[in-house]
């Protein structure tokens, strides 16, 4: 009896429990609603290559950016106890910088000015500078993360438009499009590989560095981590810079998907999804311990939700309303006060049961 409840508690207490249950609910809902949701077909895309297609593929494909962002957001949340709401705007800045590096002042160049890799590096540097700016405000001026990042949230898209002087560069180089779509001959979308690479990098970082230990220590108690010889300011600053790198990777995927950029629309509301992924993964939004894999799973669950809503013919601009309801339900369920009340009620029920059994 005791062992059984222990196992049950372990399963329910696991961080992966909530996202897995959410995923299960979505899968069951879609099975009932329309089983063809799970169909996998091989079709020829516009270039004539056979590629995998279907809702599941598109979830894994379009979930890539979100998963990459969720990794960075989890670490930022853990160390600083707040979230970065400027990621969408920084994606615009970074993507705009990449296109500027590739095109210069000519919006529709015949040949690219530099190699794609160099342009990517430039974009990484731009995103890292934005991250460093946020980190500076948070770590050294002690401004709450969400307010500090509010600055770039407002100005970011304006800056992105300013970098390219509001031109809309188009890139016709097919190699550029391979990154965001398919490499000829490989039926799996390229962003999936990029997301996998990012996950591998973060797994290696966790394995071989003290990143996780230090960020968690700073998030749990800044003062005591300082007394133990960790520099909390440096840690907080560097997590924002690390997030910048992930944002740049997401920006690369976003830009290469369409081979151009729309300053006001690109990665719109993605910050909301990324925060939601972190919360769905069962990570505390006020910092401390974290589990990156739960966030990644959360990200794919959210993409699943988005795709499901699209299948139900929900207009894209009405989407935030539905997601907001999901967020509210999630945060209410995971709030400590509600959990306490629930456990108290269930305890009362149990004690009543045993009393009845005794009689």
């Amino acid at each position: 009896m005791n062992k059984e409840t222990n196992i049950f508690k372990k399963i329910v207490g696991n961080q992966l429990f909530i996202p897995l249950v959410a995923l299960l609910i979505l899968i069951v809902f879609n099975l009932i609603n329309d089983p063809s949701f799970f169909a996998l077909t091989i079709q020829n895309n516009i270039y004539g290559y056979p590629v995998l297609s279907g809702s599941i593929v598109s979830i894994i494909d379009f979930g890539s950016e979100l998963a990459i962002l969720a990794i960075g957001m989890t670490i930022v949340t853990a160390a600083s106890g707040g979230q970065d709401i400027s990621v969408g705007a920084v994606i615009a800045i970074s993507g705009s910088t990449m296109l500027r590096a590739l095109c210069g002042t000519n919006p529709q160049p015949e040949t690219l000015r530099t190699s794609i890799f160099v342009a990517f590096l430039v974009g990484v540097i731009a995103a890292m500078i934005c991250g460093a700016f946020n980190g500076l405000l948070v770590a050294f001026f002690k401004i709450p993360p969400m307010v500090a990042t509010l600055i770039l949230y407002t100005a970011g898209r304006s800056i992105a438009a300013w970098i390219n002087e509001n031109r809309l560069p188009m890139i016709y180089e097919p190699k550029f499009g391979y990154i965001g779509n398919f490499i000829p001959g490989i039926p799996i979308p390229t962003p999936v590989f990029i997301a996998a690479a990012c996950m591998l990098v973060i797994a290696l970082l966790h394995k071989f560095t003290n990143l996780k230990l230090y960020t968690q220590a700073v998030g749990i108690n800044e003062e005591s981590s300082r007394l133990n010889g960790i520099n909390p300011k440096l840690i907080k600053f560097s997590v924002f810079v690390i997030l910048g790198v992930f944002v740049a990777v997401a920006a690369l995927i976003k830009v290469t998907r369409i081979s151009t950029i729309t300053y006001s629309v690109i990665a719109k509301d993605i910050e909301m999804d990324a925060i939601l992924a972190v919360a769905l993964g069962g990570n505390s939004l006020s910092g401390g311990k974290y589990n990156v894999w739960a966030s990644v799973l959360g990200a794919y669950v959210i993409q699943f939700l988005t795709t499901t809503l699209y299948k139900l013919q929900v207009r894209s601009d009405a989407l935030p309303a539905y997601k907001a309801v999901v967020v509210i339900i999630l945060v209410v369920i995971s709030s400590p006060i509600v959990r306490d009340k629930f456990s108290r009620i269930s305890k009362n029920l149990k004690s009543k049961k045993t009393e009845n059994g005794g009689v």
Partner: protein, 353 residues
């Protein structure tokens, strides 16, 4: 009392200006900085951009253009003084204006009921968010972020196309001008043109006066400061922290509703892109007006100056030839950044002592 005065006077005369400044409370310190910045900026505007800024109507135009922002910023200041934040206001303003527009135009409604709708929407958001923040102890930023997305999404669900409202009694209300006696300018022919304001400005100024008095002299107003300054000690003093937080969010929601209607009267149309980025401007004006993000410090008069400063910056940017749309966003963000850093420095100076 009299003795104290005689002692205090020579002392303050001896001390330099900087020392006097350091003796002020945080609230007054930040308020002083704000007023100085506004005056300097306005003088710069007059010197560099010509005498257009000098006429009384220019000042009133700032109020007319920003009445809705002023009202929502007052609500924001109350929440921020209590130590929270409310970023749903822009979404609520958009939802209110769209709902009222649809009600007035498509359902042939009348004006008083539309005002009730506006107040109802604002109140509903305030009560719900306040409950989640105060009684379930969820981070205000997350709750109101969700509130913002919900309001924005609902706006497009109510109606996705922008349209102008043609309801007669509403248009009459919208175009009502209140002329101010004895203040005005003479045009080239020497005819006196009185300065005017609209109903929105009257509402906004009433809100400012009401909340200034409330925050300064009522029990509830002082509770806001106490809870924002230190919730723990506020609780020790017997203040109901949860209820105070709850009320602050209700006030912010209600003011977002009122601000939404005033905004609706200003633009006279319903559109999903209404009030884009208003939450940001409201937060920026509160911060520029000397309200601390960490709570416990702030002043409604400062918020008034914050809104005026923000608007003057926009005017200067526009008339300085930087008409590209991105410059406004960048300057506001830079301004916000500057004031956040000033606040941080002022507070860390205090800590060092």
């Amino acid at each position: 009392m009299g003795k104290e005065k005689t002692i205090a006077k020579p002392l303050s005369q001896n001390k330099s200006l900087i020392k006097q400044f350091n003796m002020l409370t945080d609230t007054n310190k930040l308020l002083t900085i704000t007023i100085i910045v506004f005056v300097v900026m306005y003088i710069c505007a007059v010197i560099f951009e010509g005498k257009g800024f000098l006429s009384p109507q220019a000042l009133f135009n700032i109020l007319i253009n920003n009445a809705a922002l002023l009202i929502t910023a007052c609500g924001m200041s109350v929440v921020m003084i209590t130590g929270g934040i409310d970023i749903s206001v822009g979404g609520v303003v958009a939802l209110v204006s769209m709902s009222c527009a649809v009600y007035l135009d498509y359902h042939g409604g009348n004006v008083p009921v539309s005002i009730l709708i506006a107040l109802g929407i604002g109140l509903a958001f305030g009560v719900f968010q306040g409950f989640l923040v105060a009684y379930l102890d969820i981070q205000p930023f997350i709750v109101t972020l969700a509130g913002m997305f919900f309001a924005r999404g609902m706006t497009t669900i109510v109606n996705s196309e922008p349209f102008n409202v043609t309801n007669e009694s509403f248009v009459a209300l919208k175009d009502t001008r209140i002329e101010i006696p004895f203040i005005g300018t003479y045009n080239k022919r020497g005819i006196f043109i009185p300065a005017y304001i609209n109903i929105g400005v009257v509402v906004a100024l009433a809100v400012v006066v009401f909340f200034f008095i409330m925050l300064r002299w009522t029990k509830l107003g002082r509770h806001f400061y106490a809870v924002g300054g230190n919730p723990q000690s506020a609780m020790m003093l017997g203040i109901n922290v949860k209820r105070t937080r709850f009320i602050s969010h209700v006030i912010s929601g209600l003011l977002a509703g009122i601000g939404g209607y005033v905004y609706f009267m200003y633009v006279g149309s319903g559109s999903p892109s209404n009030a884009q980025g208003m939450e940001m401007n409201a937060i920026a004006s509160s911060i520029i007006g000397g309200t601390m993000l960490t709570g416990g410090v702030g002043n409604i008069i400062g918020t008034l100056f914050g809104v005026m400063t923000l608007s003057t910056i926009k005017d200067i940017v526009a008339s300085a030839g930087l008409s590209d749309p991105w410059w406004t966003g960048i300057t506001i963000a830079a301004m916000l950044c500057l004031f956040l850093v000033i606040q941080s420095v002022v507070i860390s100076n205090k800590d060092r002592k």
